[in-house]
């Protein structure tokens, strides 16, 4: 006899279909929400009143306070890149090209990307955690009640600060990285500082530096925006703060690579 109640057969395919539908649904809803959040920035940034004092404060916190970390990382990257590249350059009899090779790698790619990743770890997570904590403790609501536009005060200033400071930090990281490379070159030989930098400037021109600097503006914008978005829409509770900080770093780092990929493609089109 046929059973009266039919039990729905749950197949592996069905579970996978639901799982992927849920993952993609969440992803696209997140991307849409982030896009609207980012579009609001362009509307608010031009509208007075302007929060200059908060912008200066955030620029100090985001830029100046990140400098030591970026400087140390830049120095180590320059040094390590030189030490690691040296044997292969020796093998090809091109050891004299070492400063030029390191300079091009640093300025075009490694400097901006590593700085952006460090920046996303420090600043992106910081912004995410700070805003999430403000959300959880109703500080954002308190701002709104007191007649302040919290998006303008909190988001616009932080995103602008991140967008302006990251290019500066990346250029400084490049310079310190080159100095690290000079130290690396001198570990196994004797090269004067002037000769080293002469080789560097012969190999690197404006066309290497400009696209690299331009893309750091986009990195900074993405890191600031994602940090703010994750914090602003954090779930209530202490767990929400941790999640906001964590997902801000993960999402921002992913976005850095995505922007870099697009930037490299565009640059190569222009340079060819």
């Amino acid at each position: 006899m046929e059973p009266k109640i039919k039990i729905r057969s749950i197949t592996r395919e069905k579970i996978e279909e639901d799982f992927f539908a849920s993952i993609f649904g969440k992803f696209f809803s997140e991307v849409t929400s982030l896009t609207f959040f980012a579009l609001r920035f362009f509307k608010e940034v031009l509208k007075p009143p302007y929060e200059f004092n908060e912008l200066l404060k955030q620029s100090f916190l985001v830029g100046y306070k990140s400098f030591p970390l970026v400087a140390i990382t830049g120095f180590i990257i320059g040094l390590v890149l030189t030490i690691q590249s040296r044997p292969i350059m020796v093998k090809f009899g091109a050891v004299s090209m070492l400063p030029a090779m390191v300079a091009v790698s640093l300025v075009r790619e490694i400097g901006p990307v590593i700085t952006a990743l460090i920046f996303s770890g420090k600043v992106g997570s910081g912004i995410g955690a700070e805003l999430a904590s403000m959300k959880v403790t109703e500080q954002i609501d308190a701002m709104q009640v007191s007649g302040t536009n919290p998006y303008k005060f909190l988001v616009v200033t932080r995103v602008l600060a991140a967008t302006m400071m990251l290019p500066l930090l990346a250029v400084l990281a490049d310079a310190i990285g080159l100095f690290g490379s000079f130290v690396g070159v001198n570990l196994n030989g004797q090269v004067s500082l002037s000769f080293f930098f002469l080789q560097v400037f012969q190999s690197v021109d404006f066309n290497d530096l400009l696209p690299a600097v331009i893309k750091t503006f986009f990195f900074g914008f993405a890191i600031g925006m994602i940090g703010c978005y994750k914090g602003y829409y954090a779930n209530t509770g202490t767990e929400g703060v941790g999640k906001a900080a964590n997902s801000a770093v993960v999402f921002a780092s992913l976005m850095v690579f995505l922007i870099d990929m697009i930037a490299v493609q565009l640059t190569s089109l222009y340079q060819n």
């Binding site: 500080q139 009640v145 007191s146 007649g147």
Partner: protein, 259 residues
């Protein structure tokens, strides 16, 4: 509706009567399937202290968040100072909000700012180009009102629970609002500090003639501060009256709040 409850029939009252600062007519608010406010009809009279009682999750906080504009209601009219809020532009709503003070349950103090900066923040944003002397005197007056002058340079993390509430109150009062909304002002405080906060609420009412809405579970606070009490049940106004009227209600459920 209980025996002691006075039905609040807004339609029969004279709407836009100058003695009402807030009028709520058939107010409803849902969060997806959760119908928090089902049908709220209530008025807040000028200069009165209205206490709202009700079990947790009955929509008391949502109700005052609707008044201050942190939450938009789904249905019904919310008339503040004689103006229907649904007809106001964003700019007009911001202007209206300046006349409404909100004391958050947690205090919602800005962690990264000192006590002085916490008070400076709303002032600088609402009063254009305020002279420094005037700013300092307003801050001092606000801190004197709540007895926190000595803590002016401290960070919020260095303050006790009672001090945080008092600072939250000072930050709200510094703008001299016409309506004060208190979200559980005595929660988490010892009985002595709770009594101090209740007295402070009364002082504020007397000094600035503000209309206040006080959400509380603290019956001592309700007794001390209330001119009128409204009890909310399942997102609707269940009963209304003075402290003594509701205490002697024939409805056992209403009486249970006072036992």
């Amino acid at each position: 509706m209980t025996e002691n409850a006075v039905p609040i029939n807004i339609e029969q009252d004279t709407l836009r009567n100058g003695s009402f600062v807030v009028e709520m007519v058939h107010l409803r608010k849902s969060f997806e399937d959760n119908h928090v406010l089902r049908d709220i009809n209530m008025v807040i009279k000028k200069g009165e202290n209205l206490v709202i009682l009700g079990k947790s999750g009955t929509g008391k906080s949502v109700l005052i968040k609707c008044i201050v504009g942190l939450v938009d209601c789904d249905y019904g009219s919310l008339i503040i100072f004689g103006e229907d809020t649904s007809q106001l532009s964003e700019r007009q709503l911001i202007e209206m909000r300046k006349k409404i003070g909100y004391l958050f349950q947690s205090g919602a103090l800005y962690d990264s700012m000192t006590v002085k900066e916490n008070l400076e923040f709303p002032l600088r944003r609402q009063i254009d180009s305020i002279p420094k002397e005037k700013l300092n005197s307003l801050i001092r007056e606000a801190l004197e009102n709540v007895g926190l002058v000595k803590a002016i340079d401290k960070m919020p993390a260095e303050l006790s629970g009672g001090m945080r509430k008092r600072l939250g109150l000072a930050r709200t009062l510094i703008l001299k609002p016409e309506i004060m909304l208190y979200d559980e002002p005595t929660t988490g405080l010892d009985p002595i500090t709770s009594k101090e906060i209740s007295k402070l609420i009364l002082e504020v009412q007397n000094k600035y003639n503000t209309s206040s809405v006080i959400i509380t579970h603290d019956m001592e606070c309700a007794r001390l501060t209330a001119d009128r009490i409204v009890v909310i049940k399942d997102g609707m106004c269940e009963a209304e009256g003075s402290y003594d009227e509701l205490k002697n209600s024939t409805d056992a459920w209403i009486r249970s709040y006072f036992e």
